[in-house]
Assembly symmetry: C2
Homo-oligomer: 148 residues x 2
């Protein structure tokens, strides 16, 4: 049985984070001692590392809560877990696609910018000022059905 500080040290998180995880239902406390101090079993440290590893690959705490439920549920199947992973992969691919598109547009603009002279003739600012909504599709900032 460990105090919160020791669990925090071994898990690589702060005690505040541990209390936060407890509030959020991610880590359970085994019990309390006479002073009201939290006592943790050693599975707590494993649990915290699970959480941190899951965060490292992109799961949110909400996701992780679900993963922990699956892990604890003897009726759950491997398939459920893989489903979560695949969903997360799709989310990431969507985010990557958005970022790639933005990066590519910015890169084009940066290439067009002469890098000298006044801002009044900067093609980047021009591009931002004028329409570019049809470019590559799906970047509309205007209300639908209203041309310029």
């Amino acid at each position: 049985m460990l105090n919160i500080g020791e669990v925090a040290r071994r898990g690589g998180v702060s005690v505040e984070t541990l209390r936060y995880y407890e509030r959020e239902g991610l880590v359970e406390v085994a019990g309390r001692n006479a002073n009201g101090y939290r006592r943790y079993g050693d599975d707590a440290v494993r649990q915290i590392r699970f959480i941190k590893h899951a965060q490292e690959v992109g799961f949110t705490l909400k996701d992780i809560k679900e993963l922990l439920s699956l892990k604890a549920d003897p009726g759950a199947s491997c398939c459920d877990v893989r489903g979560r992973a695949e969903e997360k992969i799709r989310e990431m691919e969507a985010k990557i696609a958005v970022l790639e598109r933005m990066r590519s547009i910015l890169a084009d603009w940066a290439a067009a910018c002469p890098d000298t002279g006044p801002v009044s003739r900067c093609p980047i600012l021009d591009a931002l000022e004028n329409e570019m909504d049809e470019r590559r599709g799906g970047m509309s900032c205007l209300p639908p059905g209203r041309g310029a």
Copy 2:
């Protein structure tokens, strides 16, 4: 001179967003009428579209405030603007790299998961429970100098 509602419609944002932009110093009001209603010049709509376009390519409102300052500053050079764009490109590349790394790890795990059977033998949960910190480098969740 336009009321806030008309500017919102033409700009494709809500009136609350406009008031928010005003508080944040992104859009100036030309004046007020006798009732205290905001009156906007028609450059306001252009300004809002600038903001929206800049967001579409990944600039934050903070970035955009700087871009607007540069745009308004006759002493600023094109170079400054390009600098912001290139910095943003680097930020995006960093984010993309992180996402790619996470995606690739998850994809490997998902491929290893048999997708049948109980969660107790799921390689994804196994991977999350056990160490994977040395994999691909730089994913440590542990405090430095503390092995297992």
